[in-house]
């Protein structure tokens, strides 16, 4: 199981600013390991952020997102104390969901 994401969601005027740091190796499948063998591709393919039962951001990623991906975005609405849910899925079918309270 992958390590938890580090999440921050901060209310700034009428917007929620969200910062996400995921723990993931983001292997391209093009790199050779120390033994000379190709390290298999292993990267996050889909990200979804949900607030109040609806999606506020969706992403599709290739293998060129940096290791331990960082993502920042903002959406209108939301209130302090509300909860956001962030889910990622990778190309090997692993996934992780974490929650953060808007502050």
């Amino acid at each position: 199981m992958a390590d938890p994401m580090r999440l921050r969601a901060v209310m700034q005027a009428d917007r929620v600013e969200v910062k996400i740091l995921m723990a993931h190796p983001e292997e391209t499948g093009l790199r050779k390991g120390p033994d000379g063998a190709i390290v298999p591709a292993h990267f996050i393919s889909n990200v979804s952020v949900q607030y109040a039962g609806r999606e506020v951001l969706r992403a599709e990623w290739g293998a060129a997102v940096s290791k331990n991906p960082f993502l920042q975005f903002a959406f209108r609405a939301g209130a302090r104390g509300d909860e956001l849910t962030v889910t990622w899925i990778d190309n090997l079918g692993e996934s992780r969901t974490d929650r953060v309270t808007i502050t």
Partner: protein, 155 residues
Amino acid sequence: MDNPRRDFITAGGLLAALMAAGSRAADLAQVPAPGWNRAAFQAKTVAEALKALGVMVARDGGELALTAPEIAEDGAVVPVIAQCRAPGTREIHILVDKNPFSLAASFFFPDGTDAFVSTRIKMAETSNVVALAVTPGQAYLARRQIKVTIGGCGG
């Protein structure tokens, strides 16, 4: 009636299926649902990727701002920020001209979400980074050359 030959054939079939599954997992192009634009992520040039994203004509527009460093010391971690002021922007895509696969990331913004994203990507070598923003009626491109001192694909 026992038939060892049949057992052998069944086992062989299972083995073949497992091998096929293994090779699928190793293939960059094979990613499970939900929604992943395989053709776009497989594209080896920006032009191919734009086509796969359904963008035929895009204009270089001041509405789309791409912020990135001029020089990236480490190609493995290149911060990029894209923001589009054109109303109704639904998608922002980040592409890298000279990466083995050009499309790095696609972001989709429902109503109420700013057409803004900040993230970090890998670059194999010095290249143009391209941001593409899509509104219902128009597509915008912004380019920025980034010098990479150390490539981000290892090996």
